[in-house]
């Protein structure tokens, strides 16, 4: 139940194809995160589920039923619109409970749900305001409250917390998960916040230019990216990707080479890889000052301070590489070195940009690798 199945779904506006051949099954009661660059079709996907846009071709099933032609109102969906879509003429409270009134819920029930949503989203005291008298974040919370109180089978959230401060966002996130645990709705959640994606999502679907790139657990999306796009897209700063060569059991970047462990060599040899993209996350590069053997070396270009951490940007054979450190004494011009951590590197095919996979030793983690 409460399952959503996309079968070869396409959506175009005129000639522009927005969603191309989407095949995706959203499990009943799961929390699926939609991730993707701005304009890639996330909101459109939600609108297709909600029935606010018509599918150009393909089939969409919800609850096992073909819903291509089912009206929005009958899909039992609630949605937080990216631009809120609050009713400007209604007060906050009326905005929130309007849907419930339509459902003709008993008064007490409505009052109680309103209260709990208002409490949860810290909207107390604003109940009688009109949307135009609210701050941006307050409006967003009203939109969220309106979606939550309905307790529909499907909850579609389009960047529902983007205008909230970190504290409130953390709080709301937790509450959303709690709600989910109580009502087991199917969540489809668009966010640009990685922490949100990781904490709220049970699975993450990564989209790019209307095409699904990868659907998997947060862990795998992060640690076993299916392709270069996913690797680069998830995490900030972005995964370092550079062209590398395999030769002589060594991995070569420019004129520097580092010997690979046996299983990697075997794996690369088996796959016949000679030139490929190497991916390493910034947080997986441990910089050191002195250079022992078997390390790559570069020159620091600049350092970015993130408060609790900092990013060291250095030049490695013409590639700009960034490493994240807890605290560093590096200055521009310093020489830094790092070793390859064998379980933290990713190799992508040069043509298809797909992940060629990992040596078997790492595959226990890699339980459900699924490329699309």
């Amino acid at each position: 139940m409460k399952e959503i199945v996309f079968e070869n779904v396409c959506k175009s506006y005129g000639k522009a194809k927005i969603i191309e051949n989407l095949n995706l099954t959203i499990q009943p009661g799961e929390r699926l995160i939609l991730l993707g660059a701005s304009g890639c079709g996330k909101s459109t996907t939600l609108r297709l589920i909600a029935g606010l846009e018509e599918i150009s071709s393909g089939s969409l099933y919800m609850n096992g039923q073909l819903v291509n032609d089912v009206a929005s109102g009958e899909r039992n969906v609630s949605m937080v619109f990216q631009n809120y879509a609050l009713y400007p003429h209604m007060t906050v409270a009326d905005n929130i409970i309007y849907g419930l009134k339509i459902q003709k819920l008993p008064k007490e029930e409505i009052v109680q749900r309103l209260k709990s949503a208002v409490d949860m989203l810290e909207l107390n005291g604003l109940e009688d305001r009109k949307p135009k008298d609210l701050s941006g974040g307050q409006r967003q919370r009203v939109a969220l409250a309106r979606a939550i109180v309905k307790r529909s089978d499907f909850l579609l959230l389009d960047e529902p917390l983007s205008n909230l401060d970190a504290q409130l966002r953390g709080h709301a996130r937790k509450e959303l998960v709690k709600i989910h645990q109580t009502y087991h709705q199917t969540f489809v959640y668009v966010t640009h916040d990685q922490v949100e994606a990781m904490t709220v999502g049970e699975r993450i679907a990564v989209m790019h230019a209307g095409r699904l790139q990868m659907v998997d657990t947060p862990y795998n999306v992060y640690n076993r990216p299916a392709n270069v796009f996913t690797a680069k897209f998830i995490g900030s700063p972005s995964t370092n990707i550079f062209t590398a060569h395999y030769a002589d059991r060594s991995l070569q970047i420019g004129r520097q080479a580092v010997r690979l462990p046996e299983f990697w060599s075997a794996h690369l040899g088996k796959n016949g890889c000679r030139e490929f993209y190497l991916g390493i996350r910034p947080e997986h590069i441990r910089l050191e000052q002195e250079k022992p053997d078997n390390m790559f070396a570069g020159t620091v270009k600049y350092v970015e301070e993130y408060g609790n951490r900092c990013g060291v940007y250095f030049d490695l054979e013409g590639h700009e590489v960034v490493a994240i450190c807890e605290r560093t004494e590096c200055k521009p011009g310093d020489r830094v070195c790092f070793a390859l951590e064998a379980d933290k590197i990713h190799i992508f095919d040069k043509q298809s940009t797909k992940n060629i996979g990992y040596p078997e030793v790492y595959c226990e983690h890699f339980y459900q690798y699924q490329s699309v």
């Binding site: 929005s72 109102g73 609050l86 009713y87 400007p88 003429h89 849907g99 459902q103």
Partner: protein, 273 residues
């Protein structure tokens, strides 16, 4: 202060106001003058010898309460009917899709261009056949076919942000409730101004009632005014002004009573929030 920057506007606006309100003041003050004073003391805002005789004369000659009631009933009936049907039709034209929609809309809107003289005689025959001559129903009926409200309200409905309708649709809101709860509040300015126009036009309608109404007891106020205007006998200006004041007074009073509501309707800015 900021008000300084506004001051030139205020001066301008006040001048415009004086010009536009002067005739009303003039009418009011003349209605309390003797005819000869009206001629000689044109500028006197306050009559030198104020008199109620104009009003006394009007009241003694006419069943004014009856006449006012008639006018009011007609205007209210016309306003209510037209407002409701216009809202419904406009909604249908904007939020439904059906065969012949555009043609139908075009046909309705085209009727705005029909000079009223065109429909006068055939409608008179129709009303006679229906037996509504000399009857306020006969005054009401033809006034109901007026597409201006549909036009205005449809224009307004077309600017309601689509996402609001979408939000409502997700809630499985039926059309009637979308209309009542979402669309109507948002197009209130258009609906209210249509309603006002319906009321005022019907209140002041003259050509048609002249044709239909024969008995003084059935008269409407604009007809009563005609009783005091005659090219040959001359117009008794002060009495005409007294009747004029009487015809204005109800719409003015209604307006003043509802002004706050009407104005606030037009102030609920930020529809598109």
């Amino acid at each position: 202060m900021r008000i300084d920057r506004e001051i030139k506007w205020h001066v301008l606006l006040c001048c415009a106001l004086v010009v536009s309100l002067a005739p009303i003041v003039f009418a009011l003050s003349s209605s309390f003058k003797e005819l000869s004073e009206a001629y000689t003391n044109v500028f006197g805002l306050i009559p030198q010898q104020p008199t109620l005789s104009n009003y006394v004369q009007v009241f003694s000659r006419l069943p004014l309460v009856q006449i006012t009631t008639n006018t009011f009933l007609i205007a209210v009936a016309v306003t209510v009917f037209k407002t409701i049907t216009s809202v419904l039709a406009a909604y249908s034209f904007v939020y439904f899709d059906f065969k012949g929609k555009n043609v139908l809309y075009f046909m309705l809107i085209s009727t705005i261009f029909i000079p009223f003289t065109v429909t006068m005689i055939p409608n008179y025959l129709t009303i006679s056949q229906l037996g509504f001559r000399n009857n306020i129903i006969g005054v009401i009926l033809p006034q109901l076919s007026d597409a201006t409200g549909i036009f205005l309200i449809r224009q307004a409905m077309r600017t309601v942000p689509r996402s609001l309708i979408e939000a409502a649709r997700l809630d499985r809101t039926g059309h009637l409730r979308i209309l009542g709860n979402i669309v109507l509040p948002l197009v209130k300015p258009a609906v209210v101004s249509s309603g006002i126009m319906f009321f005022i036009n019907s209140w002041n309608e003259y050509v048609w009632p002249v044709l239909i109404l024969k008995d003084k007891a059935n008269y409407t106020l604009p007809l009563a005014l005609q009783l005091f205007i005659s090219s040959e006998g001359g117009t008794d200006f002060t009495i005409a002004m007294a009747v004029s004041v009487l015809t204005m007074i109800i719409p003015l009073m209604l307006y003043i009573v509802f002004q706050r509501y009407i104005i606030s309707t037009f102030t609920s800015s930020g529809i598109k929030g």
